[in-house]
């Protein structure tokens, strides 16, 4: 069981601006291993600003960790060269949040698909390129003649989003990081896209990290979940367990706030405590100030407590359970 991509104790701290330089911990001591031969879908969930995109950018090598290292097949991604680097670029791909921004407005949408084929020398001839593109587009339910040769602004959001997914299909990466790939799409399209993603995992053995704050879709698509709050892991484990029986007060609040399209499942009774402005004590549990069950002990950051083979929560409410080290996070996640 060799690891494809591994985060080792990674933290990312932003020191914003020159004025009132106040560090933001966007990600705190994250360890995560994605294995090459165990394709899975992992959801990273959490509210806005919890560090989801930061995690994605770290995995993609677009930003450098403040602490810790990121390994691709055992090698630090910063020191990758030549072949390895190209392989890493090829095998770790992303579908980004904003379906419009990923297109270069100067080019027709074909650009998005032809460039990787050319750069990674995926095809030997023009005809083969065309075939591959057609194949990928058809796989996401688009008629090639409907979309090719158009400019991005001439397509609908759903079409654009699907071309993005088609790009991922085309490349058949080992790991696909999908950052809110459906946040701007309406319900029916959302279903289509997620279905495509799942097929990708199932049929081609692609691991997917699905980043979202929408737990309904997470629930449906993923196998496991990591819930982040202000850069720290609050709860992690099997998606069914975490969503159906959340144990961390934050997860509970989150799950409680999901607007289920179900008339019998009303928004819960958990009152929402407003998020106070500014940063809280960095040493404390990040959720403490909003937590209805906050205790004195919460002033010290809680470790993860193992609740089940596939569930753990960072909350003193469960301090009877065994602690799990941050670095063992991956063990909690079913594949």
């Amino acid at each position: 069981m060799s690891s494809l991509l591994e985060l080792r104790n990674v933290s990312k701290v932003y020191t914003k601006g020159l004025i009132n330089a106040q560090p933001t911990v966007a990600l705190r001591q994250m360890s995560l291993t994605l294995n090459e031969d165990e394709p899975t879908i992992l959801t990273v969930a959490g509210e806005s600003g919890s560090g989801k995109t930061t995690l994605a950018m770290l995995l993609l090598g677009f930003i450098d960790p403040t602490v810790g290292e990121i390994l691709y097949k055992g090698k630090n991604i910063k020191s990758l060269t030549g072949e390895d680097r190209l392989a890493y670029r090829r095998e770790v791909q992303a579908v980004f949040q904003d379906p419009f921004a990923v297109f270069n407005p100067f080019y027709k949408v074909d650009h998005l698909l032809t460039v990787p084929i050319r750069q990674f020398k995926l095809s030997k001839s023009k005809a083969e390129t065309q075939d591959r593109i057609h194949e990928a587009l058809t796989a996401v339910g688009l008629r090639p003649e409907d979309v090719l040769g158009r400019f991005p602004h001439q397509l609908s959001g759903g079409q654009r989003q699907r071309i993005n997914v088609a790009r991922a299909l085309l490349l058949r990466p080992r790991l696909l990081i999908a950052d809110e790939p459906v946040s701007m799409v309406d319900a029916s399209l959302r279903a289509n896209i997620l279905e495509t993603l799942r097929k990708l995992q199932r049929d081609y053995g692609v691991s997917i990290i699905y980043i979202t704050h929408d737990l309904t879709t997470a629930f449906h698509i993923a196998r496991s979940i990591v819930v982040l709050y202000r850069g720290g892991v609050m709860e992690a484990g099997d998606v069914d367990r975490v969503i159906k029986t959340p144990q961390h007060p934050y997860t509970q609040l989150l799950v409680d706030s999901i607007p289920w399209p179900n008339l019998d499942q009303q928004w819960g009774e958990h009152p929402i405590i407003a998020r106070e402005a500014g940063g809280s004590d960095p040493g404390a549990c990040p959720f403490m100030s909003r937590c209805p069950k906050a205790m004195d002990i919460c002033k010290v950051r809680p470790p993860l407590y193992q609740l089940d083979r596939h569930q753990a929560a960072a909350c003193y409410l469960h301090d009877k359970q065994a602690e799990v080290g941050d670095e063992r996070l991956s063990d909690l996640l079913p594949v």
Binding site: G17, L18, I19, N20
Partner: protein, 332 residues
């Protein structure tokens, strides 16, 4: 704003002044010309001076101005002098000092530049805002176009045309000079009025062309702002177009415009060099023009430094004013 920022900005300001003074020191010296000799040449040519042994004279003047020393020594001395705001003597207007030359001419220029810059900024910004404002009446929006065309008229040409047609042919306004011949400057209203009348044409020469540049930039900015959600929302609130225009649209579009203001001074000064000459105004532009012609580099570097410092100071000032205008910067 904390002290760190202030120190940083001040340090940058110092750097700009140092760099500018160094450029200004070396560039004129790159030219193989000899200012003192040219001064005598000028005098000889106009007959104002009949030469004795010019070479001896020149040597003695060189010594007096320290020009016979090695250039690095001159440079260090020069930097020291700048710290003391002492630019030495004018070569062509000896025994006047550079500071005196500047002080004599600055008031004329400041008045003119202040008025023209402010006027063209205000008019241009308003017209630009209107030009991008779809609710404005069409005729008002179309005023912008001629002004944009006018940006193609260099101020000096504008000045020539105005002088001839308005000044000479129509005899509406004086043909030059800072004030009427024979008046002695004083603090009376009559003098002030006379002064103003003499500034109209020079000011117009500078304004007419530069309004367009403000129109252009404001219009560009306005177009962007116009699509902003908050402008739409203001409309949803049922505000009158006038209020939306003022508080939501202009106020936001204005911010980048203000940054341009400091930079514009540089261009305006350049134009002033030629316009002041055209109108016979004894301002800093004329002084610089004369100094350039006479290769009077103490005066050149004095004036250039003065302008550079003034612009850098304005930019510095804007750095500090900007947060006042834009609350986002204030707290961020």
């Amino acid at each position: 704003m904390n002290t760190k920022i202030i120190v940083q900005r001040l340090a940058f300001f110092a750097l700009v002044v140092w760099a500018a003074s160094t450029i200004v020191f070396f560039v004129p010296r790159l030219s193989p010309r000899n200012a003192i000799r040219e001064r005598f040449g000028e005098l000889a040519r106009t007959g104002g001076f009949s030469p004795g042994d010019i070479e001896k004279l020149i040597a003695s003047m060189q010594q007096q101005f320290g020009l016979d020393k090695p250039i690095w020594e001159q440079y260090w001395q020069y930097l020291g002098n700048i710290l003391r705001m002492d630019f030495g003597y004018s070569l062509s207007r000896y025994p006047m000092t550079v500071t005196e030359v500047i002080m004599q001419s600055v008031p004329w220029t400041i008045g003119l530049l202040l008025v023209t810059t402010v006027l063209s900024f205000v008019i241009g910004t308003l017209l630009g805002a209107v030009a991008a404002w779809p609710k404005a009446p069409a005729w008002l929006r179309s005023i912008a176009t001629p002004f944009i065309l006018l940006t193609g008229v260099p101020p000096i040409i504008m000045g020539i045309l105005l002088l001839f047609f308005v000044g000479f042919r129509m005899k509406l306004l004086p043909l030059g000079g800072a004030y009427s011949v024979g008046l002695v400057p004083n603090w009376s209203w009559a003098f002030f009025a006379d002064l103003m009348v003499h500034q109209i044409l020079p000011a117009l020469s500078l304004i007419l062309g530069s309004v367009g540049t403000w129109v252009l930039s404001m219009r560009g900015m306005g177009i962007t702002i116009q699509g902003e959600d908050y402008v739409n929302f203001a409309e949803h609130k049922g505000l009158s177009p006038g209020r939306i225009f003022r508080d939501y649209y202009v106020r936001n579009a204005l911010l980048p415009q203000v940054t341009g203001l400091a930079l514009a001074i540089g261009t305006v000064v350049t134009s002033a060099v030629v316009v002041e000459q055209l109108f016979g105004l004894p301002g800093i532009g004329t002084a610089l023009n004369l100094a350039i012609r006479a290769n009077d580099f103490p005066v050149i570097y004095g004036i250039v430094l003065f302008i550079t410092i003034a612009i850098a100071l304005l930019m510095l000032l804007l750095e500090f004013i900007y947060p006042v205008l834009d609350p986002r910067i204030r707290t961020n």
